[in-house]
Assembly symmetry: C2
Homo-oligomer: 276 residues x 2
């Protein structure tokens, strides 16, 4: 089964398009836990345990683990092992380097850590992404149009009166890399019109859609514009809005309730789309 088929199956079986982002910041973890021997692992494992029924995927943000050095990386190694294959695991790593170095990143993330998917940066082109695409059952979500303010600096680059933007060129190029049906795109929810036009340009690619939580993107517009014709093939990521819903000892219970609410809202909007 290739990556796109796996994603579709998991979405169906979990009845969810929710991706829960694990960005464990030691300064935002309840104090008692933050002082424990393995705070990142303890915090994330509790969240996973309580939310496993709500999500299609977990996206682990490598920046937050690396910020704790080799101990953080060891927490990542332990965490990835407790996530069952009923959900997808995505390493939010935004890697990309010359071929020989990207091979090492792919080895680190897809082989050693055994993630199902990884986010990658397109700037260095095909040979920088290709090592992440060699296993057809594992996928790479390529940054296309991101959800942050800085997306204006280069992703909308166009020369003169040309109609083509860099992000649309990326979307089209990635379509050409999809021989193994394991390419996806990262498209932020903060620009609903562009999300719609990128979905039109790439109807068969899985989308990883950040920006609907703390970053302020509208969830309904994101679901209507970002899913495929059948209301699927997209993951909506919420990180801080779920994992820091409560800053107290009940954080995992609060995360569970918020994740259930988001899953249900997303499902309502996708039914709306499928009916239309």
């Amino acid at each position: 089964m290739n990556f796109t088929q796996r994603l579709s199956q998991i979405i169906r079986e979990q009845d969810s398009l929710l991706c829960i982002g694990l960005d464990p910041d030691i300064r935002r973890i309840p104090a008692k836990m933050a002082n424990s021997a393995d705070p990142l692992y303890n915090f994330c494992s509790e969240i996973i345990e309580r939310t496993l029924h709500t999500a299609a995927a977990y996206k682990l943000n490598l920046a937050f683990f690396e910020s704790e050095g080799s101990k953080g990386w060891a927490a990542l190694e332990k965490l990835i092992q407790i996530i069952p294959d009923t959900v997808l695991t995505i390493a939010d790593a935004k890697r990309g380097d010359i071929g020989t170095s990207s091979e090492m990143y792919a080895r680190a993330i897809l082989d050693k850590l055994n993630f199902d998917a990884v986010t990658v940066n397109p700037y260095m082109g095909k040979d920088s992404v290709e090592p992440f695409l060699r296993q057809s059952d594992k996928g790479a979500f390529v940054l296309c149009l991101t959800s942050n303010p800085g997306n204006r600096d280069f992703q909308y680059f166009r020369d003169g009166d040309g109609a083509k933007t860099l992000h649309s060129h990326v979307a089209k190029t990635v379509l050409g890399w999809n021989q193994n049906e394991n390419c996806g795109l990262v498209v932020g929810a903060t620009q609903p019109e562009e999300l719609q036009s990128i979905r039109k340009a790439a109807p068969e690619l899985p989308f990883l859609i950040p920006g609907v939580g703390t970053q302020g993107g509208d969830l309904k517009a994101a679901v209507l514009n970002g899913t495929d014709a059948s209301g699927g093939l997209a993951l909506f990521n919420v990180s801080r809005g779920i994992i820091y819903k409560s800053s107290e000892r009940d954080f995992a219970e609060a995360a569970k309730r918020e994740a259930e609410t988001l899953r249900d809202q997303i499902n309502e909007f996708r039914k709306m789309k499928a009916r239309s």
Copy 2:
């Protein structure tokens, strides 16, 4: 002293523009050492010890350390501590994420690991790079025109008959981010004409120039086109061409000889430029 001043001072004191790239691949380390308890550390520390007099900087490629998981990250933590401040340390990480995540990467690389500089990817724009620029004595080399074949896919993107390419737009934009005099550019040696025009557009930025070794870029053209008017402000990186010069037990001695040769060749070409 800001980053650009520090770099200039180190270049002067070491009388070298050579950057030695540490890409320790466990499959290319002499067998006996590869089976030791801490192969990446042992291999790199021997190289560093023998080549310290030849280089202005060491560039540690994080992909190769991550490929060994938390043990590789621990080797990185040990290695960075043995490099004295007579040379610069550059984390070749090519990171870049939304602001809050880039902050964590900056914390991991510039604070915890205490690197002097880091390579970053511009695709996500200003807020993704800014966290790496907050300390004026530490620098960020932003990918501009890379040395790999995939550079054609997006870095030359231009619409219609426009004269401006994405990489020239990146160079110009990064100039505007240089308030703290701690921005640099990564410009590959494999396109000497573009290297010349980017140097003309950004005469005051430090350049990190890969691609002169195994990747085939011409060293003389790279030095003449990539240094500033006085024949400085550039680092020429060679990784595999130095560290794997010998695959036997004499690898560190072979690396030393090759590094001395390269340093001297670069210095000859820069004198040629300063005289012209």
